[in-house]
């Protein structure tokens, strides 16, 4: 099992979710985050002073998937989240050693 951690642009969330559903990924956990990277933040103005907001709103997805689904998951996210413009985000794949479904005590791939 792997934890696929994807950081994407907020307005792409729905499309990514749809794309994941299509390949059979049925669970995920989403957080609102702020991202810092190459995409330079925008300039804001307050009472005449301009300032740069470096941290941009992003959405982070934590998706646990079985090993065989990892590649498809990454691909699905990639194509759904891509706009081609800077700041599209990243996908990181981390190993998961164990997974448990709280409700049923199922473990392993059955838990996700």
């Amino acid at each position: 099992m792997k934890l696929v951690k994807a950081i994407i642009k907020p307005f792409k969330l729905e499309e990514v979710k749809e794309a994941l559903s299509e390949i059979g990924v049925e669970g995920m956990t989403v957080s609102e985050v702020k991202g810092f990277g190459r995409q330079k933040g925008h300039t804001e103005i307050y009472r005449g002073s301009e300032y740069t907001v470096d941290f941009l709103p992003k959405v982070m997805l934590d998706i646990a998937v079985s090993d065989d689904l990892v590649a498809k998951t990454v691909d699905a996210i990639k194509s759904a989240a891509k706009t081609g413009k800077i700041g599209d985000g990243k996908i990181f794949v981390l190993p998961i050693e164990e997974a448990v479904r709280i409700r049923t005590d199922e473990t392993g791939d059955g838990a996700i």
Binding site: T43, E44, Y46, E50, Y51, T52, V53, D54
Partner: protein, 480 residues
């Protein structure tokens, strides 16, 4: 009892002539009368009153004498004028109501833009009303008789500050008249603001607002309140269900048709994606303030402090708003199975718009019915406009446009002295004229400078795009 009253009144008319001398010798007589200068001098000499008292007396006499012939109605005039300016302040606060309703019902990422528009609308509305609106609204000369008269700066306005300015029917000074009407003027544009929110380009909207408020509103309004052709027909629109609300609502419709819906609102396959309110607390504050201000809007439209009318207007206004809310709660609960706060809030406003044309012309029972029907209409209208893909984030077209028409024709139904046909013609004429003028103005603006923000800006939000500001910034990390 009324019979007795009438008899009593008759009696008095007869009695008064005879009673004259009797009155003179009564102690109470002195109460209402101003003592003569000689008497005051005598009292002063006798030490009965102080020099201060005598000075106060002189100042008072001078003030009242300033009213010349019209001094006989001085006290009534003073009270009525006071009510006019208080009512103006109450109508002013409706603009905060509109601003909060629109802010609350739209998305967080556009909140600064919404509030900015509303600060601009009221400010530009008042200034342009002084520059051209007021004297266009109440034309001294018509260019096209009863249809078009363009006026100028209120400096031209004779600053008449006596009862002679308008008598019982307009018991205020010229400045009182101006300020009360000025607070109304921006309303039409505020209504449009809600409908075009979240995608309209700010500078384009600002240009539109100025022309719409400074020219279209007073010209169309002059047909009725400026004693133009609608007035001549016997059209009845007490405080403006048509000439303010339907005007704004159908202006909004034209703009929305030109502008198109918000991105992602109507999905392929006929699905509607609701874009929920970002802050219902602000929307609720908005609606209560609108209701509060409406007491000034309708009550101030009595144009004096005449007590019978004031009592009736406050009562019908409150009952129509309440029954609008109750019926829209009932209808939405029945139709969509849940008690929907946004519908309840719109029901209040629908009831208010629905009574505005007839607030002084119907009784409490009719007010409940008129408001209630408006509360039902607004639910249907909102669902209808969504179905035909007219994207109106705050429901302005339904609340002000559709219920404005309803309120106007309802007077023809519930008041036997008002012609239904005339009401229908009048409200349709106003609505059509509002629609056409908004369509023309907004189309020209579209050609010249465009009316819609870019897709990217819409996705990111107008606050960053147009203003470079966020409504709720605070916890953000920044550097230069």
């Amino acid at each position: 009892m009324i019979g007795l009253l009438k008899k009593t009144r008759l009696f008095w008319l007869l009695l008064a002539g005879v009673a004259g001398l009797g009155l003179l010798s009564s102690p109470a007589m002195a109460l209402q009368n101003v003592p003569s200068a000689e008497e005051v001098a005598a009292l002063l000499a006798a030490g009965e009153i102080s020099e201060d008292d005598a000075g106060i007396y002189e100042e008072y006499v001078e003030m009242v004498e300033g009213h010349g012939f019209h001094a006989y109605a001085f006290d009534f005039f003073v009270t009525s004028m006071l009510w006019t300016v208080i009512a103006a302040a109450m109508v002013f606060i409706m603009h905060l109501g509109f601003a909060m309703l629109e802010t609350g019902l739209t998305q967080q990422k556009n909140a600064v833009n919404v509030m900015f528009k509303n600060v601009f609308i009221i400010s530009a509305g008042i200034v342009t009303y002084a520059l051209v609106g007021f004297n266009t609204h109440y034309p001294a000369d018509w260019i096209i008789p009863n249809v078009l008269g363009i006026g100028g700066w209120i400096g031209d306005l004779n600053e008449d500050a006596t009862f002679g300015y308008g008598g019982v029917g307009l018991a205020m000074t010229a400045f009182g008249d101006f300020i009360f009407q000025a607070m109304f003027a921006a309303t039409g544009a505020t209504i449009v603001s809600g409908a075009v929110a979240e995608r309209v380009k700010l500078p384009s909207f600002m240009v539109f607002v100025v022309v719409f408020v400074a020219i279209a509103y007073p010209v169309i309004g002059s047909w009725h309140w400026g004693e133009g052709w609608l007035d001549a027909m016997g059209f009845y629109d007490f405080a403006g269900s048509s000439v303010v609300h339907a005007f704004g609502g159908f202006g909004a419709l034209a703009c929305v048709m030109i502008l198109g819906p918000r991105a992602g609102k109507y999905l392929p396959g006929g699905k509607i994606r609701p874009i929920p309110a970002h802050n219902f607390a602000l929307a609720t504050i908005g609606v209560f303030l609108l209701w509060f201000g409406w007491f000034g809007f309708n009550g101030g439209s009595v144009l004096s402090a005449e007590p019978a009318d004031l009592g009736l207007v406050f009562t019908t206004t409150a009952l129509a708003a309440s029954s609008g809310a109750l019926v829209s709660i009932l209808v939405s609960w029945t139709v969509i199975k849940k008690p929907d706060l946004s519908m309840a809030l719109n029901g209040v406003l629908a009831g208010l718009v629905g009574i505005t044309a007839g607030a002084d012309a119907v009784g409490p029972g009719a007010a409940i019915i008129m408001g209630g029907i408006a509360g039902a209409i607004v639910v249907g209208a909102i669902l209808f406009f969504d179905k035909i893909k007219i994207d109106d984030p705050v429901g302005a077209i339904s609340v002000h446009g559709v219920c404005g028409i309803w309120g106007t024709v309802a007077v023809g139904i519930f008041n036997s002295e008002v012609s239904f046909v005339v009401q229908l013609i009048g409200t349709l004429a106003v609505s059509a004229a509002a629609f056409v003028s908004a369509f023309v103005i907004f189309s020209i603006v579209k050609v010249v400078m465009g009316v819609r923000v870019s897709e990217d800006e819409e996705a990111e939000g107008l606050d960053l795009g147009e203003h470079g500001q966020e409504a709720y910034a605070d916890y953000q990390m920044k550097t230069r």
